[in-house]
Symmetry: C2
């Protein structure tokens, strides 16, 4: 690796992690407020820590099994990279969550003491930035380490190694390119942690939330975060383990997934073209293709660090919306500027003939152009989500309006709004795919995904700030602080919605784009040496009945996965409902405020429910491609991946936007429209919100992980399916 | 055409239509009961007739526009076949609906006078059989006429005509096989009528139903079909225009779609293989492939006629379930037996070399084997639907159980059950695709679809009998007849659920299978003369970014379509709710029974709502492939079709089964579980049922039409997209 590049990437990692540490201590030094606030905060922190350690212990067991399998059937390098990826993701998630549980009470106290929106905003943002910087920093640190150790030191990126190798088990026909397996292992480690964090955290938080709402708000009629509600601490723990840790590892996984998909594709492009004398790409050009994604990531990380430092020392105004936008836009533009300059440097020695083979129509600027296209389409997708879910637009207002007719029409209208919201973002994505492919071939599509996530450090900072502000509001309610405090935290929380919508747009958009690169790599891997023949076409044929049948099964899988997730939430929520009802019934003093409810019991129910229910969905994601591959072979699995991706993208958009419309439809009523709080319309809107919660916060975000876990596992296993599958055996192939 | 075959097909058509007429008169001769019953019945009949004639008038206008376009850009033969198809579908739908509106009151009266379940069952079944026989009879009559007139008399099936012809406009590059265009026109005519009947009828019936339930059941607390409810007549009209006419034209469309997809595929197989000296198929073998689907259809129609005649003269027991199953199974087995024998006759002179080229592994029995596979998988899919939606199984019981926790968990659990129900039937379909392809190539897949629908006459008879019994029950309630009458009609109605579930399985399964044949034909048509080259591969490549982008947009389209449909129902239902509330508020005598409500106003609201709202969804189905084709070209549209098909199949299964689970979950509570009628659980279950109604009765059934309308239009237009599209022009192709 070019030493300048190592320096830049190293600097980005060091600076970002140092800044994360500095911001962490700045948050920690702030005053945690009154004793009662500290008590509540420490209950939340303990609950979150307890769940995370239980969860990580459960994952560790599964990770060891996968490690053993990976080391046996793939390579020890892939196994180590897998563990390494898992650790990076776990550390980033834990740091972010830990910071959030410290920050919430301090933000609440800052609002109480300073009464200044600007100062409170700054502290919340510093808390969120620890997660943002940790996510991008650890992801890049780990990947750079994989490059340096396995790629450069151990030579997996040297010219002689970028060919198909026999598997170390020596079974004839089982062959792979070692470096693609190693980075796939790294990506799989990140995905696995993410799957559990998302699913486990998602079940935890929604079970607690639904449990708290169904009895507290709907049956008893006490407000949200009322300390008399036994589920209220569990609900706040859920925000930290679900929204903070879940979201952090989700974007880390997306970021790594996008980077790795580009790298694997580059390796295959080199492998195939280098077998063909008419179309040779030099090894140094390959290394540029392999390194450029990391350079863009480093450029993004440095730019985001600058943006965050700026926010740390800037005098913050009382307009959180403006400050947020300033930081996001400044970091995004800086990222694109720096990576544009970097692209000139990186691709300076590539020949015109090579550009032509790669399909780079504007030479060295092509991949950068794709990144710009990715950013633009990601932002537009986020804007579209806003149009369908914000109550400033007619779709959500209509949901509120129909709430006056009762829960049935609320649900019906929200569902219709969610369904109608799917086409426009998908169309934007389709244009991005066609456009980036026209600019720089399949590599360009991968770069568009990387572009979307290049300033992930800021996106995650802003996304994490939302739940911190939300938690701070909850704390102020539970500690019975002045209403002014709640007002400040509420206005902070409201600002988080737009960036959060854009973040979701990036997550699902980048997953779809990364999946395309992974399909292509899958087809290359399936073809093996045949991919070097001059008449080789990169084809996944839908008229092939095996592939079509696979696509049909693939399209159904996300529904099964979602159904199981929703049922898991409902099952855990129901136990919570019964516990909350029991507490109110057994001890009438709770409702009068004379006696405290048993918070711990509710925390344990959520925790046990989440740990118990998270295994099945995760297993489906891991085992579905393996089982299908061993039964029906690689063509079926190719279809399976396409079907799952298509179906997941539309289902994720539907669930996210329907859930968003119900959520904000309720908020619109709470702002005093159509009868306001306590009206029949409000009751119906609460039903809508409760239905939407698991859809938008558990199902939607889990679907983009499903896509990538399945694609990476298929890629790792394809040479095995190709050789051993029941259908082929029956047909005598 | 072989004169024996003409005789068989002619006999099938004549016998079935004569039997339909005989059964119609038998129903008409039965006594229509008391004057008050007749008054109500004639209000329902007038409402249904009024809506149908308004609807057909609206369709006629659109049909004339399409006729003009078809005649201009395709051929006058396709235009005439289009009108012909539309007429067959419209006539069958109208006859069925008209019979149903006569039968309902007579069934009610039979129950009142005879108090015999068996006799009532027989009359209801005779009423339903008119629709069943009309659907299959007119579909086959029309298609046979198209064959004889255009195929044989005008020579479109003669050897010289089964090649690509220049379009009569003479634009170079716009070429098609005339007979495939003619049968596509016929199929499109059926699909168009079906689209409007399904969508218009679906909106009508659900708006009335939801309107009646939301105020009557939920707010006022009066039972279903209470004459005090102003929407009650509209609700019963809706059953006839939605469930009877809609369902009839739906299965007619499926039947024709399956037949036509096989015929078109056969024409392309002949066209391509006959350009390749190594792989020639004789013209007489082609005609066998083209004729065999009609022979199977005729065999099915004769067998079903026998089954229905048997039921007409048999002494019917008091076990409707047994009688129903007897008729269905007898007809199905007879159909398979007769078509098995026919396959020996039809394929007797085909050479082994030809069988090999076609991929018929068990020679002449191969297509028949596929039909058997289709029947078996269709029945199994129906059984799976039963497992997920009947309250005899745990999934639906769980929905009932969670209704105790209020509407939010009812909705959540029903949604989860629906989502989980998708994979198993899709897996069965995948196995059917792989299996039938292994038996007889792509032609085999088309034959599997035809197998599923071969005994459609009985399926539709049984399906139509359900709403007739339902309507009879409503009438007995409105005419305040003895409770015994309602009990009889209710037990008839309950029996209809299983065959209805199986019918839905056939409809969506056959749509998916027929779509695959249409994709293949589309790719052949897109390739044009190139399809004759020896190295031609039938490929629709998902790694092609245009195709993948098209697939993504295609996957989103069914959501848009469904969202618009649901919103249309909600909008129409809301107007109904307001009208019903207004009537109760303005005239307090209605609720005491002293004064009659204004039924006519409610009928007009449903009618106007349905006519107004049905246009947009129909336009989307017709225009989406045309607009996409002109913008992005044929590869994009190929992806669009795949995406739409995959997404529609899973969405249709989800909506049908979630809706079914809510419906039966409510019924389970009404049977006295979890508190029974009037309990909080029942209220929550009614919310679930109301949400599910438009999903299962409007959205689900419309999606399988969407698949075929889009596929047929794309097939007709592909040579035009191939030559004229914006993307190609921009890229300088």
């Amino acid at each position: 690796m070019n030493s300048l590049l190592v320096l830049v990437i190293g600097a980005a990692v060091v600076i970002s992690l140092a800044l994360a540490a500095a911001n962490f201590f700045k948050v920690k030094q702030a005053s945690p407020g009154t004793e009662s606030m500290q008590q509540i905060a420490s209950a939340i922190k303990d609950g979150a820590n307890a769940f995370m350690s239980l969860q990580y212990r459960a994952i560790a067991l599964i990770a060891i099994i996968i490690l053993a399998i990976m080391t046996t059937v793939v390579s020890w390098q892939a196994g180590i990279a897998f563990i390494f990826g898992g650790c990076m993701s776990a550390i980033a998630g834990w740091i972010g969550m830990h910071t959030a549980t410290l920050a919430n009470v301090r933000v609440s106290n800052m609002a109480r003491e300073s009464k200044s929106l600007g100062k409170t905003l700054q502290l919340a943002l510093m808390g969120g930035s620890v997660m943002g910087l940790a996510v991008a920093g650890f992801a890049l640190l780990g990947l750079a380490a994989v490059y340096i150790v396995f790629g450069y030191w151990l030579g997996q990126l040297s010219p002689g190694e970028l060919v198909l190798h026999d598997n170390w088990l020596g079974i004839p026909g089982i062959r792979d390119i070692p470096f693609t397996m190693t980075v796939s292992g790294y990506a799989l480690g990140c995905s696995l942690i993410d799957m559990f964090n998302r699913v486990g955290g998602g079940i935890y938080t929604k079970a607690a939330d639904m449990g708290a709402d169904l009895v507290g708000k709907t049956e008893i009629g006490i407000p949200e975060d009322d300390p008399r509600n036994p589920a209220t601490i569990a609900d706040n723990v859920g925000d930290n383990v679900g929204d903070v840790a879940g979201l952090g590892s989700d974007l880390l996984e997306s970021f790594v997934g996008a980077l790795v998909s580009a790298v694997i594709l580059a390796a295959y492009l080199f492998f195939t073209h280098n077998g063909r004398v008419d179309q040779e790409i030099s090894h140094s050009t390959l290394l540029k293709l392999v390194n450029y994604p990391l350079v863009v990531a480093a450029a993004g990380l440095l730019s985001c660090s600058l943006g965050i430092v700026f926010m740390r020392f800037k005098r913050i105004s009382d307009h959180p919306h403006k400050e947020m936008n300033l930081m996001t836009w400044a970091s995004a533009i800086l990222t694109l500027g720096v990576s544009g300059i970097a692209s000139i440097y990186v691709f300076r020695n590539v020949t015109d003939a090579e550009f032509k083979i790669l399909g780079f129509v504007i030479n060295g600027f092509s991949p950068w152009g794709c990144a710009v296209l990715g950013v633009a389409s990601g932002i537009y997708i986020g804007h579209l989500a806003e149009r369908y879910t914000s109550y400033d637009y007619p779709a959500t207002k209509r949901v509120s309006e129909l709430s006056r007719e009762g829960p049935a029409l609320t649900i019906t209208q929200g569902m219709a709004a969610g369904m109608k919201s799917v086409l426009a973002p998908v169309f934007v994505l389709a244009v991005a795919i066609i456009g980036s492919h026209a600019l720089a071939g399949l590599y360009g599509v991968a770069m568009a995904a990387i572009g979307m996530l290049s300033f992930v450090a800021v996106t995650v900072s802003v996304d994490t700030y939302g739940p911190i502000a939300d938690n701070a509001g909850g704390l102020s309610e539970m500690a019975k602080l002045d209403h002014k405090v709640r007002e400040i935290t509420d206005s902070l929380d409201a600002v988080g919605n737009t960036p959060a919508a854009i973040g979701k747009g990036f997550a699902i958009g980048s997953a779809a784009l990364a999946a395309l690169s992974l399909f292509a790599s899958y087809v290359y891997a399936q073809a093996g040496e045949a991919a070097k023949l001059p008449d080789f076409n990169l084809v996944l044929n839908m008229i092939n009945t095996l592939t079509l049948a696979g696509a049909a099964v693939g399209a159904a899988l996300p529904y099964l996965f979602s159904g199981i997730l929703i049922e898991a939430v409902a099952a855990a929520a129901r136990k919570m409902v019964q516990e909350v009802r029991r507490q109110f019934a057994d001890n009438p003093d709770i409702i009068t405020g004379k006696s405290l409810p048993n918070y711990r019991e509710c925390i344990e129910i959520s925790s046990a429910g989440a740990l118990h229910e998270m295994k099945l969905p995760a297993l489906i994601a891991v085992l579905a491609p393996i089982v299908c591959g061993l039964l029906f072979g690689p063509e079926f699995v190719g279809g399976l991946l396409i079907g799952t991706t298509l179906s997941s993208v539309v289902l994720a958009l539907f669930t996210a936007n329907a859930g968003g419309a119900w959520d904000n439809g309720k908020k619109y009523i709470e702002n005093g429209h159509f009868g306001g709080r306590g009206s029949e319309a409000h009751k119906a809107a609460v039903v809508g919100d409760t239905v939407g919660d698991p859809l938008k916060d558990t199902v939607g975000p889990s679907l983009d992980i499903l896509i990538k876990i399945m694609a990476v596992i298929s890629l790792i296993m394809v040479s095995i399916f190709g050789k051993y599958n029941l259908y082929g055996w029956l047909m005598g192939q």
